[in-house]
């Protein structure tokens, strides 16, 4: 009886230590954010393209860590990836908005110039 109880306590302790939950949702979320950035044309804006690349590398690294059983560190890397992908989207949109604004300003100038 004492042995059994000791075994159970030990098993719970080991599970609690070793089994930090795998951050699969964060992987999905980060990958969705990367796709989102690519869809708005982040690849054509150098800064945004760099951010996308960082995010992709971080996701890859996180997946490797998950395979190695370091879910906790993987989760933090996925947070980095998420932040990088979201930044890439914002950078791409900023660049597009600036280009459109420039076009509009040029149009005003050309009408003024007539």
């Amino acid at each position: 009886m004492r042995h059994v109880l000791g075994f159970v306590v030990c098993a719970v302790f080991v599970a609690g230590c070793g089994s930090y939950p795998a951050p699969t949702e964060r992987v999905a979320s980060a990958e969705a954010a990367i796709r989102g950035a690519q869809e708005v044309g982040a690849g054509n804006v150098p800064q945004a393209a760099l951010s996308v690349k960082l995010a992709q590398e971080e996701v890859q690294k996180a997946k490797q860590l998950m395979q190695d059983g370091d879910n906790k560190r993987a989760e933090m890397l996925l947070m980095r990836a998420q932040a990088d992908a979201e930044l890439a989207l914002a950078q791409a949109r900023e660049q597009q908005a600036k280009a459109e604004a420039q076009t509009a300003v040029d149009q005003v100038k050309s009408v003024r110039g007539k």
Binding site: R73, M76, L77, M79, R80, Q82, A83, D84, E86, L87, A90, Q91, R93, E94, A97, K98, E100, A101, A104, V105, Q107, V108, V111, R112
Partner: protein, 293 residues
């Protein structure tokens, strides 16, 4: 003095507890500083606030465990959140600039339209004025034409009356209206003084001719073929001159009327019979319209 000591002590404490901040954290701090002091603070305060929360977490992790992976990861994320706020604010500013430009463009186009409309209105007014002028000119022309027609009618009427009143031959010929006065009515044979009966007739003629404004009047003397040609020429000239002078004395405009003698050169009847010769002895008054310029 006292407060300086406390600051000094706390710096020492931080340095002792955590060591130097990792690069991720110092980046996050400076980027957040940029977000807080730039346009992001006005345009995207919520995102700047999120960045601040994220930075606070990183600072807390750093003061708890020093330069741990966790502290560095949190600082990295905080740095990205500040950059995200800055980029989003940049996008908003660009959109605002674009909208401002679009409004300006619309107002410029509206101004252009207004200007074009103004010019159109002006052109229309000018056209209308020109049209009125044309109409006026047209009316003046019509009036002049009417006046002319009336004058011509008066002239014709006068001639018709003359024909009836004086029983004189009035004919329309290519050279003009020709009034023929028989020589026997006007003069004694071989003389050029007017007979009393002539004056009556010539008064009526003068009356009619006074209405022929804008006409050139030529008095022509004609004789029969008796006598010499030169004496006939001389006689016809003198008779024409007498008639002309008389008509002028009765009110026909001096500068409108002239006289000429053609002698026996233009007979209208056979000179071999006495009737023919009587017809050839005559004075013709030719009334020609003067082309008005």
């Amino acid at each position: 003095m006292n407060s300086r000591r406390i600051i000094g002590a706390s710096i020492l404490l931080v340095a002792c507890g955590s060591g130097l901040p990792p690069k991720e954290l110092s980046d996050a701090r400076s980027t957040y500083e940029r977000a807080k002091t730039g346009v992001a603070a006005q345009l995207k305060p919520d995102l700047v606030h999120e960045a601040k929360v994220s930075l606070d977490q990183a600072e807390a992790a750093f003061s708890d465990d020093g330069s741990s992976d966790r502290a560095r990861d949190l600082a990295y994320v905080a740095n990205r959140k500040s950059e995200f706020a800055i980029a989003s604010a940049g996008q908003s500013a660009a959109i605002a600039q674009k909208e401002q430009a679009a409004r300006e463009l619309m107002s410029l186009q509206a101004q252009g339209l207004t200007k074009a409309q103004g010019e159109l209105t002006q052109t229309r007014q000018q056209l209308a004025a020109a049209g009125e002028k044309l109409q006026m000119t047209g009316e003046q022309l019509a009036q002049e034409r009417k006046a002319r027609q009336e004058a011509e009618k008066r002239a014709r009427d006068a001639m018709d009356k003359l024909a009836v009143a004086a029983a004189l031959a009035v004919k329309e010929e290519p050279r003009g209206t020709v009034i023929t006065l028989p020589g026997s009515v006007l003069f004694q044979s071989a003389k050029w003084d007017l007979l009393g009966t002539a004056r009556d007739k010539l008064d009526k003629v003068a009356e009619a001719l006074k209405n022929q404004a804008d006409h050139k009047i030529v008095v022509e003397g004609h004789t029969d073929s008796q006598g010499t040609e030169s004496s006939n020429m001389d006689l016809s000239q003198r008779r024409a001159q007498t008639v002309r002078d008389y008509l002028v004395s009765r009110g026909v405009a001096n500068d409108m009327i002239s006289s000429t003698g053609v002698g026996q050169s233009r007979p209208i009847a056979d000179n071999r019979s006495p009737e023919g010769r009587a017809n050839n002895r005559r004075v013709e008054i030719v009334v020609q319209p003067v082309e008005k310029r």
